[in-house]
């Protein structure tokens, strides 16, 4: 969208015409109240009505506005939070206009990760809706002079049934806003939900099938310049020289400057080429011929690293859980299993590569289009520009565009950081786009891991003990010592509910220069597959059906058992398979949700395919069942890519994969033909949904391969066609 320099009241007129206009990030000045002062207009400035609170704005007539204040990257939260508010406010979703908010402290914390949004916002947002409803209800009762308990609400109206009176929320809003809020409001019972738990269409998808949705990549403020950054091909290095003149000689290149990005305390230098268009910037970058001194990092080599990690896994390491006496049980028998699993480093590879658009102006104000899972960057900018913190939100405006995926990667604001430095230096609007190669090679990455398992069995091959020792870098202790404590994130999804008499779960931290970062389901993405594949090995050795084995050893956990029973039924688990078929399952809890999956394999004319995956999800109370299913389907594909496609490997300090030709993604022809997702209905607190569908899939796949071929694979990724 081009710049708009019109008067504010004209904006309000325009805003009424098209809802999509609200959502578009654009350079947006308007004159304020006749004064010759420019104001940056944000989505909030276009909304008419009484703001009952920052999230709910009620106009006298027409749709109620609800703010989508949590960044949307595919998970459906754009509608998810308003749906929770609407439920308790007692309005229908078609009476609501959802508007993507700015980043602002007014909305509280807006960062996303850990499949946390619904989990943390469910109760507060219900209370917000219910409290607002209560104020409207009391206002009507006072107006009519009737007892509050004789009044009720329905679809945006307050009703007094005995007299037949009714009044809309819009007519009450201005007075209701003056009410003292009742903090002890009663929330609805689940059986009375009209919106929560029902499949609804996502209102953001209309603009996602016609090219109108605004992604960070699409910001086009007036006078925009385009930037690309050349960085050290190894993880880090000291810039020793580059050919500025050659790059400047490319037509359209306007500036070249050094920038840095902070990756877990390490400052990585880059050379920014700024040009009038994207092509010129890229052409200029090719001519830089940058020289780097990178001896320290040139030795990073994943082959050696995995050998080191495997050696380290022989050490006892730090205790996470010890039950009974594993060492004793293991020493008492020769009937054992001893195996090692290895999972690779990976890239996040969001479809929308990392990018940012920033305009630091001559007058020391700033506007940002933050393609970020942590968009509240006001403080950082204010500090750097010398703006007092209490003026930060006036002088710094931050748009939250839709994001083309995040998967944890966008919780690091390094592309914003680079772009900000360029704009600050030039005082011009700058769009920085990382190339796909930058995105794949520069990290930070998902951790690679080694898992050493041991189990002991009695003479009937029934387990007497099991041990897992996990070796990995940790995310939260990069660049510092973990001081003998296990970092909180690393043991996710190692299922200590399994009722083995003797159990030992341990961790060894491996230090490496490779930067790692939150990657969809984080350590559940590595622990889940390895652990559940080994459980399968134990089940097979015991001579029991793997599903029956899990039910037996998880019998103390009724939710796990229910999920397994449902999977047994829905997948027709006990049906006999043909000669060239295989099946495998896994069950993993992560982020408050239990997911079990069954994978079916078929070998036909020498080609192996995945005709079907069946998933059962217990995420407690859910908002939109269709979105739980969509996220689970997506997690299955994401997890299959991790299991079957390319790893990130390092040689001489540099990632060997660069673009989608060498770092391949699962495609349509390789995807399961059918994915079924079944949800468990219960009254448990909401669990996460964006990640828990991922951890079981690789294990279920490895287990299905073993079931079909007799070959036990213990290293990811592998080629499905070679099994």
């Amino acid at each position: 969208m081009e710049a708009n320099k019109v008067k504010r009241r004209d904006f309000l007129k325009v805003a009424g015409i098209t809802g999509a206009f609200f959502a578009v990030g654009f350079e947006s000045f308007a004159l304020t109240g006749g004064k010759a002062e420019l104001k940056t207009l944000m989505p909030e400035d276009f909304i008419n009505g009484v703001p009952m609170n920052p999230f709910v704005i009620i106009p006298e007539k027409g749709k109620i506005t609800m703010m989508a204040h949590i960044p949307e990257l595919g998970q459906g939260i754009f509608q998810g939070i308003p749906a929770i508010v609407a439920e308790e406010l007692d309005v229908d979703m078609d009476q609501v206009e959802i508007v993507k908010s700015s980043a602002s402290r007014a909305y509280g914390r807006q960062s996303i990760g850990g499949s946390r949004s619904v989990r943390t916002q469910f109760t507060p947002m219900r209370k917000l809706g219910a409290t607002t409803r209560d104020a409207l209800l009391r206002t009507a009762a006072e107006k009519w002079g009737v007892p509050v308990n004789e009044c009720s609400t329905d679809s945006g109206k307050v009703l007094h049934k005995s007299s037949g009176k009714e009044i809309t929320y819009g007519e009450l809003a201005a007075e209701a806003k003056a009410q003292t809020l009742n903090k002890e409001v009663k929330l609805k019972e689940k059986k009375d939900f009209k919106i929560i738990g029902k499949a609804t269409h996502r209102p953001d998808l209309g603009n996602k099938v016609n090219g109108q949705a605004d992604y960070g990549m699409d910001a086009r403020p007036e006078g925009l310049l385009y930037a690309t950054v050349e960085r050290c091909p190894t993880l880090q290095g000291k810039l020793t020289g580059y050919d500025k003149a050659a790059a400047m000689s490319v037509e359209g290149v306007v500036e070249i400057l050094e920038v840095t990005r902070n990756v877990y305390g390490k400052r990585n230098t880059g050379i920014a080429v700024v040009a009038k268009n994207q092509f010129a910037a890229l052409q200029g970058r090719k001519k830089l011929n940058a020289q780097w001194e990178n001896a320290e990092f040139s030795k990073v080599d994943t082959e050696k690293l995995f050998t080191d990690m495997e050696n380290l896994s022989k050490d006892l390491g730090m205790e996470h859980v010890e039950k009974g006496d594993f060492a004793g049980a293991y020493a008492a028998t020769d009937n054992r299993l001893d195996v090692v699993y290895k999972l690779p480093y990976l890239s996040h590879s969001c479809m929308e590569p990392m990018n940012a658009t920033v305009h630091v102006r001559e007058d020391n104000t700033a506007e940002v289009w933050a393609s970020s899972q942590s968009p509240q960057v006001h403080r950082t900018i204010a500090q750097d520009l010398g703006i007092p913190q209490d003026q930060a939100e006036d002088k710094i405006k931050v748009h939250m565009p839709f994001m083309g995926g995040g998967f944890g990667r966008r919780s690091m604001n390094d592309s914003f950081e680079e772009c900000y430095q360029i704009s600050k230096a030039l005082r011009k609007p700058i769009k920085l786009v990382w190339t796909r190669e930058d995105d794949t090679q520069q990290g930070p990455f998902r951790q690679g891991t080694v898992h050493r398992f041991a189990a002991s069995f009695d003479e009937d091959n029934q387990p007497t003990g099991m041990q897992t020792k996990m070796v990995s870098q940790a995310i939260t202790t990069q660049g510092r010592d973990s001081r003998g404590r296990i970092p909180f994130e690393v043991m996710e999804s190692i299922n200590t509910h399994y009722g083995f008499e003797n159990m030992s779960v341990r961790f060894n931290e491996y230090k490496s220069q490779i930067p790692i970062h939150w990657w969809r389901s984080v350590f559940a993405a590595t622990n889940g597959p390895a652990f559940e594949a080994f459980i399968d090995e134990m089940a097979v050795k015991s001579g029991k059906d793997p599903l029956a084995f899990r039910k037996e050893y998880l019998k103390s956990e009724p939710r796990f058992v229910k999920v397994l029973e449902r999977l047994e039924k829905e997948s027709y688990w006990n049906r006999k398979l043909g000669a060239n078929e295989g099946k495998g399952l896994a069950i993993v809890e992560s982020f408050g949700t239990i997911v079990a999956q069954a994978v079916f394999l078929k070998k036909e004319n020498g080609k192996v395919s995945i005709p079907k995956v069946v998933a059962v999800v217990d995420c407690g109370i859910y908002i939109n069942p269709d979105q739980v299913k969509a996220q689970t389907e997506g997690n299955i594909i994401f997890g299959l890519t991790a299991a079957l496609k390319d790893p990130i490997t390092f040689k001489n300090g540099a990632a060997e994969q660069a673009n989608f030709d060498t770092y391949r993604m699962l495609r349509m022809n390789e995807a399961p033909r059918e994915i079924e997702v079944h949800l468990i209905d219960n009254n448990e607190a909401p669990g996460g949904v964006g990640e828990p569908g991922l951890p079981p899939i690789a294990a279920a796949l490895m287990n299905a391969v073993a079931n079909m071929s007799g070959k036990r694979l213990r290293e990811l990724p592998f080629d499905l066609q070679s099994v």
């Binding site: 595919g74 209309g206 016609n210 037509e251 590879s349 994001m403 673009n659 989608f660």
Partner: protein, 157 residues
Amino acid sequence: MATFKLNINQKSYEVEADPQTPLLWVIRDELGLTGTKYGCGIAQCGACTVHLNGTAVRSCSIPVSAGASQQITTIEGLSEDNSHPVQKAWLDVQAPQCGYCQSGQIMSAAALLDRNPNPSDDDIDQAMSGNICRCGTYTRIRKAIHLASNEISNGSK
């Protein structure tokens, strides 16, 4: 730099650009049709798919000079109001998640149905495997293509 006449969505544009500039950047940055997306720059992901004389092509790998005087359709030109059978089917099955790849997916699907209104699953595999979806919406896309195919064949009866 040179001047090129482009015909996009049945509208004529004149742009100044280096002849080697990928059509993608001209469409997005010079003409402001940002529905067409950058994903890889090497014709591997399909996010930049547009129609060139009715055929699905990757606009990241076609120089603007080769697009001149051809009929180009982008996602914005598919319909005025989300009424193309593919768009309708996409919404019916709620295919998009993040949505970033979906312009390209939809353009590939529309081109497929244009030349083959009744594609088999294998036909779909063949036509759609050039489009990556990182959110993993493949099973819904397949469903949507079958749905759109039904609507097209019912509509033509």
